[in-house]
Subunit: 331 residues, 2 copies
Amino acid sequence: MRDETAHRPHERLARHLADDLAAVNALIRERMTSRHAPRIPEVTAHLIDAGGKRLRPMLTLASARLLGYRGEHHIRLAATVEFIHTATLLHDDVVDGSEKRRGRPTANLLWDNKSSVLVGDYLFARSFQLMTETGKLDVLRILSDAAATIAEGEVLQLTAAQNLSTDESVYLQVVRGKTAALFAAACEVGAVISEAGAAARSALHDYGDALGIAFQIADDLLDFSPEAKIGKNLGDDFRDRKLTLPLIKAIAAAEGEERAFWVRTIEQGRQQEGDLETALALMERHGSLEATRAEALAWAGRAKAALAALPDDPIREMLSDMAEYVVARCT
Amino acid sequence: MRDETAHRPHERLARHLADDLAAVNALIRERMTSRHAPRIPEVTAHLIDAGGKRLRPMLTLASARLLGYRGEHHIRLAATVEFIHTATLLHDDVVDGSEKRRGRPTANLLWDNKSSVLVGDYLFARSFQLMTETGKLDVLRILSDAAATIAEGEVLQLTAAQNLSTDESVYLQVVRGKTAALFAAACEVGAVISEAGAAARSALHDYGDALGIAFQIADDLLDFSPEAKIGKNLGDDFRDRKLTLPLIKAIAAAEGEERAFWVRTIEQGRQQEGDLETALALMERHGSLEATRAEALAWAGRAKAALAALPDDPIREMLSDMAEYVVARCT
């Protein structure tokens, strides 16, 4: 059921939060400058201007607004979350040796790996300055924990790559690190500054966590979907020998010759013409893509269920629709 | 006056703070672990176990003790400062493509650049978790400001490299970033947790700032000192076309053929056999090494002068001697 209206919840939320989002963009622009090193805003602007959906800052804004927040800290925290995200993108592209991001050449390609590493560090530091300005220790704990989980997940992904014994629990841990931790933190800090109770706080955390997992599973599934490939090539993860959920499921079901195929292509990395087609056929044979799709939908369902504890409000509806939106891309 | 007892103040301070330092080392070991990614403690231990002088954590411990602090936060902050330092070393070695650090192969060589980038990120995040545990917003401001200054200084160094118009003010900014910012913050946070007044706080900040600058100028000078080269090769900075103070001074004095020599070797990077010797001779001719030495000594003097506002105590003596110690290596 490829839903042609699937993009709408996201855009509706952006419209609903338009003033806040404009303030976030202004703050990002103000804080990405550097008094001494013009290279910093150059590199940052390349990534920030390329757009991106500002999904994470919107989660912070939406969470705070949903709980009736009326101050200014949600703007700072939304910018914080976007800085952390941008920093991890810069470092990811170095780690992965990526050449394209959001349809444009990556910063590591346009400048160099050095600039990407150091500008990423600068944005991390800037994000900590911003969150400190809220004066809320709970916020600092949540976001520094998230930053540690992100880095841990990336290292885990690095060491799990090419390792055929990577199972679904390791995959989930990687996904929590690379995506869900920041989604969950982005939502939860919105609750914290709103002085919301423990129930609302944990509901928003759980929503962000499940949304992030659904989002990442959908993204990993999309890598094997011939339709709707934007900015990336079909099977990039297979070529990079990244063990995402569809591959893990197919490998778990493999025996004999199939197993030998995975050992050669993933573990030993000796790939040749036609291997991607074979991999796709094997995933098809074992229903790996279908099972992965079902998991993405299940996580989207959990995200929606978590919202039940929160006030009935148009924003809650949009967050609920957002959970459908992130998996609609692959269904 | 190469002082054979120059190592003593540093060791005296380490002995004086032995219990605190042991607690810091235990905390570092506890917090460098990762529940999910064993690669993280492996890489971290490689660097932490190689020793290093623990200069920065000692500054935090000494500052707190000098001001009569009796709590436990100084241990956390000393570990924080060492984590930030270790993270920057990991990233520096990637940026510089270094192969040796503290006499051992670098992590980027033993593992890979990816691990160094991501483990560095993890340690940054861990450092923010640790400082948040102190519950002191002033501490968080000082250390997140320092982290931003460090990254900014590194980017500035990157863009200033090979640029013959780099002057002494840019150099000072780079040095503040790569060394003095963390020294100053390490000292100042010791004062903050001790609930010291503004005078003691600013005295310790100024001491750390001047000590860091003296330390770095001495380090850069040492790169051109044939004696006492440990772990590095004579003229590494010249070969890397890094514009440190001795080179900046020699280039500022250069005209005609000399200027052409610097354009070829630094700006264009076309170095050949014998160039280092020529560079050394030019620096000698213009008194660049002597003038650099004088600046290191002047900053050491400023560091000592800043201590006047602090309580008369054996620790203050050791900090004063430390300022002499860091420049004694190159005098």
